[in-house]
């Protein structure tokens, strides 16, 4: 049966329609859902859209920048308050995809997609849902059981600004230049005080089914000076507690072998 499309002026109306319609999906930029529809995905027969302007805002708030879930990668790259996210947004697809792919869609993308979400994960973004008051949920909680949120619409993502932009680093390793899907993606947020790392956050993309935190690496980095010895220890533990995925790009073995190398290169600023 052909896919029905319902368009609403407000996100709240869209949210209630999404709740009340069986086998409906919320339509953002289309890079995931139109592909699925073109392929005849039988798991949904209704697409729900919202024209709500708030869906596309980029607004500075006390705790960070609030990015509407309908904001595209292109819009992130173009916005002066979001320059720290450019490496991650730029890593998504080619120019046409970046004009279409949205923040909200990236949160729901499965590996090897979802590069921006890896950055949002280390920066400790907060996910706000339509029609749900309060502070929403922390991004790792969202990532942990994302399917539970299939029925709700992400309104916005609030991203804390890194105190020192240089404390945020991002790299996407691909087989194809300049653009290919992720073999693995690494984002690190290592704020320092008194020269020591405080509150280290490290996240990977394409290592598991969705972006994940490298907690073993974080523990090793926390409270340390970012010197070569620390980096070596972190690189050695890069895959502790993680069972990397195997896909058409690389095996689990290869990802395990090289993730530490790429983490080390990212932390030492060795970008080749």
């Amino acid at each position: 049966m052909p896919v029905r499309v319902e368009t609403f002026d407000s996100l709240d109306a869209a949210a209630s329609a999404l709740r009340s319609t069986r086998s409906a999906r919320f339509f953002g930029g289309g890079t995931l859902l139109m592909r699925a529809a073109n392929h005849g995905d039988q798991s949904f027969d209704t697409l729900i859209r919202a024209r709500d302007p708030s869906f596309r805002h980029i607004r500075s708030e006390s705790e960070g920048v609030s990015i509407g879930a309908g904001v595209t990668m292109k819009e992130i790259i173009a916005h002066r308050d979001l320059s720290f996210l450019i490496p991650a947004a730029q890593a998504v697809g080619g120019p046409a995809v970046r004009n279409m792919a949205t923040v909200g869609g990236n949160l729901y993308a499965n590996s090897p997609y979802g590069d921006l979400a890896v950055a949002l994960l280390v920066l400790g973004a907060r996910i706000e849902f339509v029609g749900q008051g309060g502070r929403g949920v922390e991004i790792e909680e969202f990532m942990r059981d994302r399917d539970r949120h299939q029925g709700s619409i992400v309104r916005a993502v609030v991203v804390p600004r890194p105190r020192d932009p240089s404390s945020f680093r991002f790299v996407k390793v691909s087989r194809v230049k300049p653009k290919g899907i992720s073999l693995l993606t690494i984002a690190t947020y290592l704020p320092q005080s008194g020269g020591r790392i405080r509150g280290a956050r490290v996240a990977y993309g394409a290592m598991g089914p969705r972006p994940l935190r490298a907690t073993a690496v974080e523990r090793l980095l926390d409270g340390q000076y970012l010197d070569s010895a620390t980096i070596e220890r972190a690189a050695a533990a890069a895959c502790d507690g993680i069972e990397p995925r195997t896909d058409s790009l690389a095996s689990s073995w290869y990802r395990r072998e090289v993730v530490g190398i790429h983490l080390k290169r990212l932390l030492t600023g060795d970008r080749r």
Partner: protein, 161 residues
């Protein structure tokens, strides 16, 4: 199946058509409007042969819900030439033998136009980035990159000379 009225500008011409529910823009342009210049390559957003410009920016028409272009400006390869006069990119693609089977060419031309309209004198790296979402299986890309740099040169000559 619900059919929705839809109006937009296609290559400067006003279009008023009906779109089927859930129809993608590629299908609407080809079967609904009869503009056959955007090509189907994958329906997945991974090849770029269906690239069109929406308000001047490259989009994948196979992943664009047709009804979302209501009121917008769409450019396809059919709109590149002004009458009989080819766009400098088209001339450069010919002079550089940048097309073999020709199937990726319309998408390449539009990806390149979007770049040159915003950045008249791109570096080679910027050209490479601009076509990074477009697959070519025949040429090895080199002649395409050269053609785009060549076209940029001509446009500058035309502007200053």
């Amino acid at each position: 199946m619900a059919r929705k009225p839809l109006q937009f500008q296609l290559n400067g011409r006003h279009q008023a058509v009906f779109t089927d529910d859930g129809q993608n823009l590629l299908d609407l342009l080809r079967r609904g409007v009869g503009d056959l210049t955007p090509k189907y390559g994958c329906g997945q957003g991974t090849c770029g042969t269906c690239t069109v410009l929406i308000d001047g920016e490259p989009h994948l028409s196979c992943l664009t819900l047709a009804e979302t272009v209501d009121g917008r400006q769409i450019t396809t390869t059919a709109g590149l030439a002004e009458g009989a006069e080819l766009h400098p990119l088209q001339t450069a693609f010919m002079d550089n033998f940048a097309a073999q089977c020709g199937y990726c060419t319309p998408g390449m031309l539009l990806a390149a136009k979007a770049l040159l309209d915003r950045n008249p004198s791109p570096t080679r790296e910027e050209v490479v980035e601009a076509i990074s979402g477009n697959i070519c299986r025949c040429t090895g890309y080199e002649p395409i990159i050269n053609a785009i740099l060549d076209a940029a040169g001509r446009r500058n000559q035309r502007r200053y000379g």
